[in-house]
């Protein structure tokens, strides 16, 4: 969080201080990119995005990822049509 505040402060000052201020702003940006806080923020954002995508997938496919138990019907169909494929492998 400190790095984020430092970045905001640097950006504010750099915007007002001309070319020299911009160099300081770039340095602050690089420092921010390499900071642990920024890495942690990226991880948190990725986790949040993954969670949202999982929620969307569940809504599209069904709550347990198996749309309304339909795969059970298909599994039964395959078992009947291709009985040898459904047999367990021998010892």
């Amino acid at each position: 969080m400190e790095a984020l505040l430092a970045f905001y402060f640097g950006w504010s000052m750099g915007a007002r201080s001309g070319p020299q201020g911009m160099e300081e702003l770039n340095a602050a940006l690089v420092s921010l990119r390499d900071s642990d806080e920024f890495a942690a923020l990226l991880v948190a954002l990725r986790k949040h995005a993954a969670h949202i995508m999982r929620q969307v997938a569940e809504r599209v496919e069904g709550a347990d990822g198996t749309p309304m138990g339909m795969p059970d019907v298909l599994a039964k169909v395959y078992e009947l049509i291709y009985p040898t494929a459904a047999e367990p492998a021998g010892p």
Partner: protein, 190 residues
């Protein structure tokens, strides 16, 4: 089986959970399959023991609700129901026309297949296995007979006046393979 075996006219009913129809199609994003076990119908045949007497009239009729065909993807299921107009034509029906023996367990079968309100005469080869249950195990003590019919048939869905299904970027190609395993059983002596 035997010439000495008594002939019996029997009615066989398809057993839904022991019967299955699988429609295997190709699409622009890979194979896609629709399956159902909700098969109903009957076979009326004259049996010589566990042999079917083809010298006597043989009747068979099968029906399958369109809505029972599922792919595991609700978008595809909705699309196929829409293209088959399941509201207006809710059932796929097959009626037997003729049977010719190729071998003791293999037959050439011709029948009328009705999908989407359009009937097409189809001919294919099926394998038939007939087994007789132990009379002691039958509920009526007469000994049931089970017939298992398996086969497959390449069908062009355009023959049934069906528009090619498409979902987003997925396009289903018109030639589909229909595989089936139909189990019918009879307990009666009629």
């Amino acid at each position: 089986m035997g010439a000495l075996a008594a002939t019996q006219r029997r009615t066989f009913a398809f057993v839904p959970q022991a019967s299955a129809v699988l429609v295997e199609a190709r699409s622009s994003v890979g194979p896609i399959s629709f399956g159902s076990t909700d098969v109903s119908g009957h076979i009326i045949a004259t049996m010589l023991g566990t042999d079917i007497d083809l010298g006597e009239p043989l009747e068979a009729s099968l029906s399958l609700p369109v809505d029972s065909l599922v792919s595991g993807n609700q978008l595809y299921d909705a699309e196929i129901r829409s293209r088959l107009n399941s509201q207006r034509f809710p059932t796929i029906v097959a009626n037997l026309r003729s049977v010719t023996a190729i071998a003791s367990d293999r037959f050439s079968v011709t029948g009328d297949l009705t999908i989407h309100g359009t009937t097409s005469q189809e001919t294919g080869t099926v394998n038939v296995a007939v087994t007789a249950a132990d009379p002691a195990s039958s509920s009526r003590g007469q000994g049931g007979i089970t017939v298992v019919i398996t086969g497959s048939r390449l069908v062009d869905i355009r023959d049934f006046d069906i528009e090619l299904p498409s979902v987003l970027m997925l396009q289903i190609y018109p030639d589909v393979t229909v595989r089936f395993r139909l189990t019918a059983s009879s307990d009666d002596h009629s």
